[in-house]
C-alpha cells in the first residue's frame, strides 16, 4: 500500500458522498424510484430537470432526467438507460445512482468542467411494468410489459400463467421423475438440473418445467401468462417478426416508441450507455471482415471497434471487473439498435456477473460463487408437492431463486454505483471536441487575404461513429465563413461539409477574401458542439 492514509481519506470522502445510498440496502420499487427522481429534481433545480416521456399500459411513468449546465440541449450528450430488460433490476439502480452521484459532485471542479462540455440524459427505468415484478407478491423474472399478447400463438391470451405451487412467493422450477424426461441431476452440484448429454451416454430421467401447471393442456407450461412485449426485443435492428414477446412489429410499444422518439429528437446525443443483458464492455465487440451485407452493416466497423476496445479496457480498469458475462445475442435489442440504426456509440453491460469456469455449468458456478460470497438464501431446496398434471408421479418444486443470478445482493449496489459513476465520467471526458488550429492569415497583396486553418477533433471519440456516418439521424458538421461589410469571398465555400473526424484528426480549410475587416468562421454540429472564431483581416 503506497499511501494508506491517502487511500483512507479518499475512501472516507467517497463513503460520505455515497452514504445516503448505503443506508437503504434495497432495490427501489416504482414508487420509491419515482420519489427519488422527483426529489433529485427538486434538490438541484438549476442543473437537473425531470420529464415524463410516457405512461405505460400499467399506469407507470417513464422518466428522463436531464443534467447539464448552460445550453444543455445544444451540447454533445450522453444517454444512460436502466431497465432495458426488466429482470435486470440492477440497471435502474446504476442509472439513477449515476445521476445522483453526478449531481452530488457537481460542485467539484472536475465535474463542473465536464458538465460544461457534456450533457447527460438519464432514463433510470424504461420497463417499469416489468421491473415491478421483483417487488410483487409473486416474484419471477419478468421482461415484458402489460400488453395482452398471445405468446404461444394459440389465439388465446394469458391462458397459462405461472402458479406458485409451494406458496413461497417465488417462481422457480418443478422436476418430474420420468424416464421419458431429458434432464439429469448435475454432477457438479446435485441441486442443479442439466440436460442429459447423449454424447456422453447419459439418458435423462427427469422432466423440468417452470413452476406452474399446464392450464390449457397443450403440453407447454406457463407459456402465456400476464403480458406482454419485451422492451429489449422490440427495436428495429435484427428484429424477429412474430418472435416471442417481440411485439407485432418493431417499436409497437409505447415505452419503446417514447424512448426512441426521445433519442431521435436529440441530435446532440453521441453515445449511449445501457444496463442490461447485452455486453460489450466485459468483452468488446470484434469487427469482422464482412461487416457489411449489401448496404446493411452487420458487425461493428473498424474505427468504432478501436473505441469499443478502449472503453472496455477502461471498464475493467475502473470497475475491477474480471472476465465477462455470458454473451447474449439480441434480436431487436436496445444495444444493437443504438449502434446500427441510431448510429451512436453504444455500450452495454449487465453491471455485475459471477465467474464461470470453462466447461462449468452456469448454475453450479453460481451456487459456488454464492457460497463463497456470503450470499445465503439463493436456493429453494427441492421439496415434493402434488401436481394435477402428474397424478401419482413424484414432482418436486425447487431451484435457484429468481433474480439471484443476474442481480447482486442489494448491499453491494452502492459500490457498483460508485464504480459506474467513475467509469462513465471517465469515458465522457473523451468526448469529441473541435478546436481551430494553425490559423494563418496571408496577405496576398492588393487587399486580398488568404485565411487558412485546421479543424481539429481534440477528443478521443470520433465526431460520429463510422456506422452513423451515413445515417440521416447524424448531423453533418459544417464549416461556414461570414465576411464583413465590404469584404468579398473570392474563393472557398461559404458553407462546406466537414467529413467525419476520428479522435485527434484534422481537416484543413482555406479561403481567399478581398477587403479588410472581420470574418467569422463557425464549425461543428449539435453532437460535437460548435466553435467560432473571429479573424481580423487588416
Amino acid at each position: 500500500m503506497k499511501n494508506p492514509l491517502k487511500h483512507l481519506i479518499i475512501f472516507t470522502s467517497l463513503f460520505f458522498t455515497f452514504s445516503p445510498a448505503l443506508t437503504q440496502a434495497q432495490y427501489s420499487d416504482y414508487l420509491t424510484m419515482s420519489q427519488k427522481i422527483i426529489s433529485l429534481g427538486k434538490e438541484y433545480p438549476s442543473l437537473c430537470s425531470v420529464k415524463t416521456l410516457v405512461k405505460t399500459d400499467g399506469g407507470k411513468e417513464i422518466q428522463a432526467i436531464t443534467i447539464g449546465t448552460g445550453d444543455k440541449d445544444n451540447k454533445p450528450a450522453i444517454a444512460v438507460l436502466g431497465g432495458v430488460e426488466g429482470s435486470y433490476v440492477l440497471g435502474p439502480e446504476l442509472a439513477f445512482g449515476f445521476a445522483s452521484s453526478l449531481l452530488h459532485a457537481a460542485a467539484n471542479n472536475g465535474t463542473k468542467e465536464l458538465l460544461d462540455k457534456v450533457t447527460f440524459y438519464i432514463l433510470p427505468n424504461v420497463s417499469p411494468d416489468a421491473t415491478e415484478q421483483f417487488f410483487a407478491g409473486l416474484r419471477y423474472e419478468r421482461n415484458i410489459n402489460e400488453k395482452s399478447t398471445d405468446n404461444d400463438r394459440d389465439f388465446l391470451t394469458g391462458e397459462d400463467p405461472y402458479e406458485d405451487l409451494n406458496h413461497d412467493g417465488l417462481i422457480t422450477q418443478i422436476r418430474v421423475r420420468d424416464p421419458e424426461g431429458s434432464w439429469v441431476i448435475s454432477k457438479e452440484d446435485n441441486r442443479v438440473m442439466v440436460p442429459a448429454d447423449l454424447s456422453k451416454g447419459e439418458t435423462g430421467d427427469y422432466k423440468v418445467f417452470s413452476e406452474g401447471i399446464d392450464n390449457d393442456h397443450d403440453g407447454k407450461f406457463n407459456e402465456d401468462g400476464e403480458g406482454g412485449v419485451d422492451f429489449n426485443r422490440n427495436f428495429t435492428f435484427d428484429y424477429e417478426q412474430y418472435g416471442l414477446n417481440a411485439g407485432l412489429y418493431p417499436v409497437s410499444e409505447p415505452e419503446v416508441k417514447a424512448v426512441a422518439d426521445f433519442l431521435y429528437d436529440r441530435f446532440n446525443v453521441y453515445a449511449v450507455f445501457a444496463f442490461g443483458p447485452q455486453d460489450n464492455l466485459g468483452h468488446p465487440l470484434k469487427a469482422s471482415d464482412n461487416s457489411r451485407s449489401g448496404r446493411r452493416i452487420t458487425s461493428i466497423l473498424k474505427s468504432d471497434e478501436v473505441i469499443n476496445k478502449l472503453v472496455s479496457e477502461k471498464y475493467h480498469d475502473i470497475t475491477g471487473a474480471k472476465g465477462a458475462p455470458p454473451a447474449i445475442m439480441g434480436h431487436g435489442d436496445f444495444m444493437d439498435w443504438a449502434y446500427y440504426h441510431y448510429g451512436r456509440y453504444s455500450f452495454s453491460t449487465p453491471g455485475w456477473w459471477f465467474p464461470v469456469g470453462k466447461g462449468e455449468t452456469r448454475e453450479a458456478a453460481f451456487l459456488k460463487y454464492a457460497a463463497s460470497h456470503n450470499m445465503n438464501d439463493v436456493f429453494v431446496p427441492w421439496t415434493e408437492t402434488g401436481h394435477p398434471d402428474f397424478p401419482g408421479e413424484k414432482v418436486e418444486v425447487g431451484g435457484i431463486k429468481p433474480f439471484a443470478m443476474i442481480n447482486p445482493p442489494a448491499d453491494t449496489v452502492p459500490v457498483l454505483i460508485e464504480k459506474t459513476y467513475r467509469f462513465i465520467t471517465t469515458i465522457a471526458a473523451m468526448h469529441p471536441e473541435l478546436e481551430f488550429l494553425n490559423t494563418k492569415i496571408e496577405d496576398a497583396g492588393e487587399n486580398i487575404f488568404r485565411v487558412s486553418l485546421d479543424v481539429h477533433n481534440k477528443g478521443i471519440f470520433a465526431t460520429c461513429t463510422e456506422a452513423g456516418d451515413r445515417n440521416i439521424w447524424t448531423r453533418i458538421m459544417r464549416i461556414s465563413i461570414e465576411t464583413g461589410k465590404g469584404q468579398v469571398l473570392l474563393s472557398g465555400d461559404r458553407v462546406a461539409r466537414i467529413e467525419r473526424l476520428e479522435g485527434d484528426r484534422s481537416a484543413s480549410y482555406s479561403w481567399l477574401v478581398s477587403g479588410k475587416g472581420q470574418v467569422k468562421i463557425k464549425a461543428g454540429a449539435l453532437n460535437t458542439g460548435t466553435i467560432t472564431t473571429d479573424i481580423e483581416l487588416k
Binding site: Q241, Y242, Y249, P250, K257, D261, R478, L526
Partner: protein
C-alpha cells in the same frame, strides 16, 4: 266544363312533363356492354380529383347506396385530413367481417395520383352494376371490398395545388442533415404551379432545340455547336449552402415505413425512424389489424406498366413463399397481363429492386394476404406499341400539345435570364384524361378477379350414418371453390390467423376427426374439444372431409368459420 278541361289539360301536361323528366334518360341512352346504364352517381372519369373532389365523390356514393357503402375515416393525415375508407358489400347479406375481404388503396406516393381515381372507379362500378349484373350482385354478397382512395392526402393536395413534392407526405424532415427542415425545396419561378426544367442560352452549351420540334431539347453531336445548357429543376439555393433544392417539403417515402422486413434509411432510402412513423400508415395498419378477413390487396402506384408481386428482398428475409402461393400469385398475375395490355408481372426484388419495409410486405408478411401493387401507366399505352413511345408525338397528335408548357423567359436571381418549360406535371406518369377510364376499368376488373379468387367455402357431401349403440357418424366435406387458400404460407409460418374451425351442433360429440383418405377410411382424431375441429388450411380447390361420432340428435348444424375464408353453414340429416 271549361274548368275541367283546363284541369285535365294541366294534369296531363304535368304527367307528360314528369314522364319526360324520368324518361329523358332512357330516351337519350343506349346501353353499352359492361357499363352502368343509369348510374345514380354521375362522375366524369376524364379528370383527376383534388382531395375535396375525392371526399365529395365518396359522400355521393355512400349517400346513393346506403345498403352497399359505409364511408368512414380511419384516421388523420399529418396535416389533419381524413383517411377515408369505403366498405362496399351487400350489407343485407351477412356481416361484412364474415366475408373474405379485399383491400384497395391508391396514392401512397404523392405524385402517383391515378391510383385514387382507379380505386374510386372500382367502388363506383361495383355499386352501379350491382343491380344490372348477376356476377357483381353475387360478388357483393360473397365478398367485402375495403377501398381507401388516397392514403396520402396531404401531399396529393400539395401536388395538385402547388407543385412537385417528393414521393412522401408532408411531415418536415432534415434531408441534408444541416439542422434546418424543408429549407430548400423546388421554387416555382414562373408561378404556373409546375416545377419544370430550367435552360439558359449558352453558346458553349451541349444542348440545342430540336429543329423539328421547338419543345424538345436534344444533345448536340461531338464537335457541334450548342445553344443551351440545362440547369435542372426550377430552383434556387434558398439556404445558401451551395446545394439547390436539396431539402424540400417532406423527404421520406411512405412506402418504406411498414413493419415487416424494415430497414433504416442508410439501407433502405426513404425509411424514417422506425416502422409506422407516419400517421397515415398507422391508420391503415390499425384498420388492417381490425379486419383480418382481408385476404387480398392492391396498392396502386405509378408508373411502369407492372403488376408487382413479392418477394421484395432477395433472401425473402422473414417472408415466406410456398410453391402453392407462388402458383396462386402467378395465375392471377398472368391473368392481369392479359387484362392489362402493356403491363407485365414483375417480382420486386428480381426484376425491379429490393424494397425493405414496403406496404406490400406488410400485407403479405404480417397479415397473410395475397397482394399485388400495380404501377399504372406505361408509354406503351400511348400508341399500344412498345417501339413508338415518343411523348412529343403523342402530345402533338392526341393532346394537341396540351401537355407541354412552352418555354418562357424568367429571371433567375443567380443564373440571370433563363427559360422555364417542359412537360406538365400531369403528363409522363399520369394517364392523360381520355385514357383514365379505360385503364381504370381494366385495373378494377383485375381487382375484381383477385377478389373473386378469394376462398369460397361450401359444405358438401353430408352423410349421417347410424352406428351401434345409438351413435351416429356424421361426415361432411368442406370445399374451397376458389384459387386462394384460406391460409397463405406466411399465415401458416407465423400462425397469423387461427385455423379454420368446423363445428357441429345438435348432439353430444363423442369424438371428432379429420378424414385423411375417404376411400381408405383413415382419419386423425382431434383429442381436445372435438366438437370444433381445427383445420390448418384449406387450399385452393381443396376438399377437407371431417367426421364426428355423435350421440343423440337427428339434425346437425355444420358450421365452418374461417377468418379469411368466410363462413358456411349446412344442415346434415
Amino acid at each position: 266544363m271549361k274548368k275541367q278541361i283546363i284541369y285535365i289539360f294541366l294534369a296531363s301536361l304535368l304527367l307528360l312533363v314528369s314522364r319526360t323528366a324520368d324518361g329523358q334518360k332512357e330516351d337519350l341512352f343506349f346501353h353499352a356492354a359492361g357499363s352502368p346504364e343509369n348510374p345514380r352517381v354521375e362522375v366524369s372519369w376524364n379528370k383527376y380529383y383534388t382531395y375535396s373532389g375525392v371526399v365529395d365523390l365518396c359522400k355521393r356514393l355512400a349517400k346513393a347506396y346506403p345498403d352497399l357503402v359505409t364511408m368512414e375515416s380511419i384516421g388523420k393525415s399529418y396535416q389533419g385530413r381524413d383517411i377515408i375508407v369505403l366498405t362496399i358489400t351487400d350489407k343485407n347479406f351477412r356481416n361484412p367481417e364474415d366475408k373474405p375481404g379485399f383491400w384497395i388503396d391508391g396514392n401512397i406516393h404523392s405524385v402517383e395520383l391515378q391510383g385514387t381515381e382507379f380505386a374510386l372507379y372500382t367502388a363506383w362500378y361495383l355499386c352501379e352494376m350491382r343491380n344490372e349484373n348477376d356476377f357483381i350482385r353475387q360478388l357483393l354478397k360473397d365478398k367485402t371490398f375495403y377501398i381507401a382512395p388516397t392514403i396520402n392526402p396531404d401531399a396529393r393536395e400539395y401536388f395538385t395545388g402547388v407543385g412537385l413534392p417528393p414521393r412522401s407526405g408532408l411531415a418536415p424532415r432534415d434531408n441534408d442533415r444541416d439542422g434546418k427542415y424543408d429549407e430548400d425545396g423546388y421554387d416555382d419561378l414562373n408561378n404556373d404551379k409546375n416545377i419544370s426544367q430550367m435552360r439558359r442560352k449558352n453558346p458553349n452549351g451541349r444542348y440545342k432545340v430540336d429543329p423539328r420540334d421547338p419543345r424538345k431539347m436534344i444533345r448536340v453531336e461531338p464537335g457541334e455547336k450548342g445553344d443551351y445548357e440545362l440547369l435542372g429543376y426550377e430552383g434556387i439555393d434558398n439556404d445558401g449552402d451551395g446545394l439547390v433544392n436539396e431539402d424540400g417539403p417532406g423527404g421520406y417515402d411512405g412506402n418504406r415505413d411498414w413493419g415487416f422486413n424494415w430497414e433504416p434509411n442508410n439501407v433502405q432510402y426513404g425509411a424514417d425512424k422506425y416502422p409506422f412513423t407516419f400517421p397515415e400508415n398507422q391508420a391503415v395498419r390499425d384498420f388492417s389489424l381490425k379486419h383480418r378477413n382481408i385476404t387480398g390487396a392492391q396498392s396502386f402506384h405509378n408508373s411502369g406498366g407492372m403488376i408487382l408481386r413479392g418477394p421484395s428482398i432477395k433472401e425473402g428475409g422473414d417472408e415466406a413463399y410456398s410453391r402453392s402461393d407462388d402458383y396462386v400469385l402467378d395465375v392471377i398475375g398472368k391473368k392481369g397481363e392479359l387484362m392489362l395490355p402493356g403491363y407485365k408481372l414483375v417480382t420486386i426484388w428480381k426484376d425491379m429492386y429490393t424494397v425493405y419495409g414496403g406496404e406490400l410486405d406488410w400485407w403479405h408478411g404480417e397479415m397473410g394476404c395475397f397482394v399485388f401493387s400495380n404501377e399504372l401507366w406505361t408509354p406503351y399505352l400511348m400508341f399500344y406499341d412498345s417501339t413508338n413511345t415518343d411523348p412529343y408525338e403523342f402530345d402533338r397528335l392526341l393532346l394537341f400539345k396540351d401537355a407541354f408548357i412552352p418555354w418562357q423567359k424568367v429571371n433567375h436571381p443567380v443564373y440571370g435570364e433563363i427559360e422555364v418549360g417542359g412537360f406538365n406535371k400531369n403528363f409522363g406518369r399520369l394517364h392523360p384524361g381520355f385514357m383514365i377510364e379505360t385503364d381504370a376499368h381494366r385495373n378494377a376488373a383485375f381487382c375484381i378477379y383477385n377478389a373473386y379468387q378469394s376462398p369460397r367455402l361450401e359444405i358438401t357431401d353430408m352423410k349421417v350414418k347410424d352406428m351401434k349403440g345409438g351413435l351416429k357418424e356424421v361426415t361432411a366435406t368442406v370445399e374451397n371453390k376458389r384459387l386462394l387458400p384460406t391460409h397463405s404460407a406466411s399465415n401458416l409460418k407465423f400462425r397469423i390467423d387461427p385455423p379454420d374451425y368446423i363445428s357441429i351442433e345438435g348432439g353430444k360429440v363423442i369424438a371428432g376427426m379429420i378424414v385423411k383418405n375417404i376411400d381408405l377410411n383413415t382419419a386423425t382424431e382431434q383429442k381436445k374439444d372435438p366438437s370444433r375441429l381445427e383445420v390448418d388450411n384449406i387450399a385452393g380447390y381443396e376438399r377437407v372431409t371431417v367426421r364426428w361420432i355423435v350421440k343423440g340428435g337427428t339434425k346437425y348444424n355444420i358450421n365452418v368459420k374461417s377468418v379469411k375464408g368466410g363462413i358456411a353453414t349446412a344442415l346434415a340429416e
